[in-house]
Amino acid sequence: MTLARLFLLVASLNAMALGGGGMMLAGLERELVGGGWITPGDFAAGVALGQSTPGPLAAFTTAIGRAALGLPGALVATAGLVVVSLGAVWVMGWVPLAWFRQARVQGAVALVPPYVTALVLFLALRMVLAGEATRPWLPILVVAGVVIGRVKKVPTPALMLGALGLGMALQEAW
């Protein structure tokens, strides 16, 4: 695997994946794990790391690029994301804001916020179900703690550090 090939792989998979960066996971796994460039364990760890850090969920691409080719691989894989996204931004730039402000378009997009609420809850469900099945109380405990912390206006970094610490403490305890 060369840097140029990694860049083209990420950019091409990304360009074909509609619905977000997560849609290219299967293609990346097929090419990198199937091709023997990284181990299944490194791939799974990269995905978990990318999804539990802040920012775009597609940050897993950086982690997987690092696992495959080190720091240059991480930078090149991230560049593959940005290039495709800038293409999408270019396309979106052609749509005048006046178009979004037409009553009929606003009528169509008025139901987008409730849809995003559904998507948020679905992603949460998927993350919980993807975890350990042997200790089902662990996600319930952490999720409930974070939700209560959010209601009490605890800052997000503090909540995440708390969740991280709880995960470490409970791993040690059990």
């Binding site: 940050a59 996204s85 931004v89």
Partner: protein
């Protein structure tokens, strides 16, 4: 220059504090879009719909489009880099900790805790979204969307159905709340 700095600052803030991708970022971008230019929350709704159906990570697409409206191509590029930077630092830096024996022993638990923590933040964002929905239609769309996504329907297809539903609702005279507000405010061209 001041606008670019504002884009960088907000990009870093979003990149460092939003867990869970575009779905978690969308309410925050919608709330604070006015700080970057003449964007309205309804513009963000439209850009979000395009960001999801176009190729590329939806979060990068949405944020890049918002930044491009505020600061042109330079704004889009610096905005996307600022958004990615916190995650890159963590993704590249955290594996170094695995070389320290204590962290290596607790790494799995930490990663699990962080994943469930992200799920918790998403649940909190979802509850917040449910509270802000003023009518039964919004709740029905959320229930329908959740059911379809759990049932394995592709997110872009679900979004397409939601957009068609919104358009039909508008055509039948059930002017959506936000659209009604926008029209009454005289923002329709």
């Amino acid at each position: 220059m001041l606008r670019l700095w504002r884009i960088v600052r907000m990009g870093l803030w979003l990149g460092a504090t939003v867990f869970g991708g575009v779905a978690a970022a969308y309410p925050r971008v919608r709330e604070r879009c006015a700080e970057l230019g003449n964007l309205t929350p309804e513009d963000v709704d439209g850009l979000y719909s395009l960001a999801v159906v176009l190729p590329g990570p939806s979060f990068l697409n949405l944020w890049g489009a918002v930044c491009a409206r505020a600061g042109g191509w330079a704004g889009a590029v610096v905005g996307q880099v600022a958004l990615l930077l916190p995650a890159m630092v963590l993704v590249l830096g955290l594996p170094l900790l695995a070389q320290v024996p204590w962290f290596a022993a607790h790494g799995h638990g930490a990663l699990l805790g962080a994943t469930y923590g992200t799920a918790g933040l998403l649940v909190a964002t979802g509850i917040d979204g449910l509270r802000k929905q003023g009518d039964r239609v919004g709740l029905a769309v959320t229930v329908f969307g959740l059911g379809a996504l759990v049932g394995g329907v592709h997110p872009v297809l679900v979004l397409g159905l939601v957009l068609v539903g919104g358009a039909l609702r508008f055509a039948r005279g059930g002017v959506a709340h936000d659209a009604g507000k926008a029209v009454s405010a005289g923002r329709q061209p």
